[in-house]
Amino acid sequence: MRFAFNLGNAVQIFVFVAILGPIFLGLFQNVVSVFGQKAYLDIAGLSANPLHTLLSVPGLSTAVLTSLSTGILATVISLWLALIFCIIFLQKIVKSGKLAMITMLLSAPHVAVAIGLTFLIAPSGWVFRLIASISNFENPPDIFTINDPFGVSLIAGLVVKEVPFLIFVIIASITQIPVKSYLCEARALGYDLANCWIRIIIPQIWPLIRLPAFVVLAYSLANVEMAVVLGPTNPPVLSVLLMRMFLSPDVTLLAPASVGALLQILLVLFVFLVFYLLEVLFRFFGKIWLCIGNRSAIFGIIFPWTVQFSFCVMLLGCFSLFLSVVWSFSSHWRWPSVFPEALSFQTWIKLAPNLVLFLGDSILIASLTTLSAIIIAIAWFQTEKRDNAMDGKLLPFAICIPLFIPQIGFLFGLNSVFLKTGLSGSWFAVIWCHLLYVFPYVFIVMANPWRSLDPRISKSASALGVGPLKQLLFLKMPILIPSILAASAIGISVSIAQFLPTLFVGAGRISTLTTEVIALSYGSDRRILGVVATLQALVPWIAYAGAFFISRYIYNNRSGLVGISQ
């Protein structure tokens, strides 16, 4: 391969430094603070071995185990539900109401969904109010329906949020496979629909959705924002335990927390390895299973139930979001009332001056981040060489690395570096950190339409004497506006949802809807929490809806353009 310096390489190198640099810096700082504590802080009591200190943290083993079990179970259940939903999705025409449900859950940040779920399923939540109203128990039951020690509620929350994401991913990948003819063929051989999917289609989809599935896995294993609201408390999952250690005033905990951050990363990599080995095993035994010609109808019986369950899960999620809205407008709503005793705008009005600030900052950060991501992505597509083998597989994977590395694993270390350089607490630093998570999505959404743009358009423009910049601005960008709009919507929703990057790197000076929601989730006023959670879910949803309608408007008038639905 030739590495002559040209603009394309320069853009790629820039992207790598911008996207992967912070991760390496953060990890490096973690290692430094583990091994070079003296340089870290010259304070008495740091002589203890950080690994030893970490291991003696009460409940560490439980935290690791619940992290593992919740992360793995949530991923497996989400995958299963999403796949089966898609199977039915392709059979029947799905009502637009259900699609709206998926989009709403897809765009809502994890925290908003988690908060909504607590409104719904907590012992004093809506479900138990309903039960209390028909039976006659006086007080909410003393049972674990959220924050349970086994993380069941955390799994539920993750599933509610990840199923729509995976459905989206699977539908996109199914369109790349001639599903219908495979199904006809396999059914003619005597296999029922469910068997066809399990034996023929899913094995072919899996390589296409493996990366997104691993993103879900990494998130489920190491997220903070959902675990804080729904997860176990005594002890919490590992990521939350580490966040507490990082934020503890006890400096002696910083080095052990850094060890823990590395442990969290190892944990994720370990589970990746296990999943990979499982895949190898499945492939081996799966083929043997396929070759015995068994046509039993067992899956045909399970599937419809599973689909009903998927619908229930999504209905649950949407109803939770709706409950946030109701809480935000209620002026009195005490146990055991099923409906608010009175509705009013008072909470909204009271919070308005503050909300404007957070909302403004959130939207500003989200817009700037998304804008930079789109500009970088366009620069990339404009300069990339298609014949370069690295462009095909390796580069997209490298860009996605931030989605696989636990945030808790490097962000604190990164902030230490930012502190030294005076960047901590600056808008630039926060936007940069958001960019790590926004850019991969923007890149993926824009890549296909951009690369498959008819090259004749550019050639005929050149023949007319139109320069590259003019071509970009007046030809390519208008043609690709739907993909840019889709990328903007996703970029904004990803940025709005970021918690740890804002918390650690923003140094508390920059607060967004998400940091506010989590701070308030520890508060005692559900009405206020309802307002902020509603807003937090609303902003990305508006971004999605806006992108959809604008692009449909353009699409309707120019039938040659590619729609956002791609």
Binding site: K92, I93, P178, S181, Y182, C184, E185, A186, R187, A188, L189, G190, Y191, D192, L193, R199, I200, P203, Q204, K287, L290, C291, I292, G293, N294, R295
Partner: protein, 213 residues
């Protein structure tokens, strides 16, 4: 008389008719040819018989195979094999595994099944192709493998949808005679749609022409 279509009418929901009152019967070991230009609803007819008609179609009439009413059965219960112009082999399985997937599970035991498949591969001139990736096969090899897979599932009837139209001219006769002789050998009814008159001649059976309505 085994595969019987009576007064089959297919129309788009709240739309135009594609097939109007078609009746035909196909005997065992017979290949019935349906001729017609593209757009005449030939493939739709096969979809109707095979049970793969989309939800946007309406189907009226009677359809029986060996006295069994097919209309309400899902495709996998009809016991009817398919052979398309694009011979579809599942890309995640080897050639042999594709055949094994078709082979009924009446045959138990790995060795017995393997012997059965090897025999089928030999018949199809694909000796030693068990572990080959389907993507490396030629068009004719794919057609034969797909046919063998279908036959291993022991269908009670066979539907052929322009099965030879994509093959090179020099292979077409060879594959055609292989397919047809396999059908005669198993003595099952076959319904073939094609727009190639030479197919009908070679089938040496009854045929009808349908037109665009």
């Amino acid at each position: 008389m085994s595969l019987i279509l009576e007064e089959i009418t297919i129309s788009l929901k709240r739309g135009k008719k594609l097939i109007d009152g078609l009746s035909l019967s196909v005997a065992h070991g017979e290949i019935f040819t349906v001729m017609g230009p593209s757009g005449s609803g030939k493939s739709t007819l096969l979809d109707a018989v095979g049970g793969n008609l989309g939800k946007n179609f309406d189907l009226k009439g009677e359809l029986t195979l060996n006295e069994q009413d097919l209309l309400l059965l899902p495709p996998e219960k009809r016991n009817i094999g398919l052979l398309y112009q694009d011979a579809i082999l599942f890309p995640h399985l080897s050639v042999g595994e594709n055949l094994a997937f078709g082979l009924k599970d009446k045959k138990q035991g790995r060795a017995k099944r393997r012997a059965e498949i090897d025999k089928a591969l030999r018949q199809a001139g694909l000796d030693g192709f068990y572990d080959r990736d389907p993507a490396t096969l030629s068009g004719g090899q794919r057609s034969r493998a797909a046919l063998m897979r279908t036959l291993l599932s022991e269908p009670a009837a066979l539907l052929l949808d322009e099965p030879f139209s994509k093959l090179d001219l020099d292979m077409r006769d060879e594959i055609r005679s292989f397919v047809f002789s396999s059908i005669y050998e198993r003595n099952i009814p076959a319904l073939m749609v094609t727009h190639d008159p030479s197919d009908a001649v070679a089938a040496n059976g009854p045929s009808i022409s349908i037109q665009v309505i």
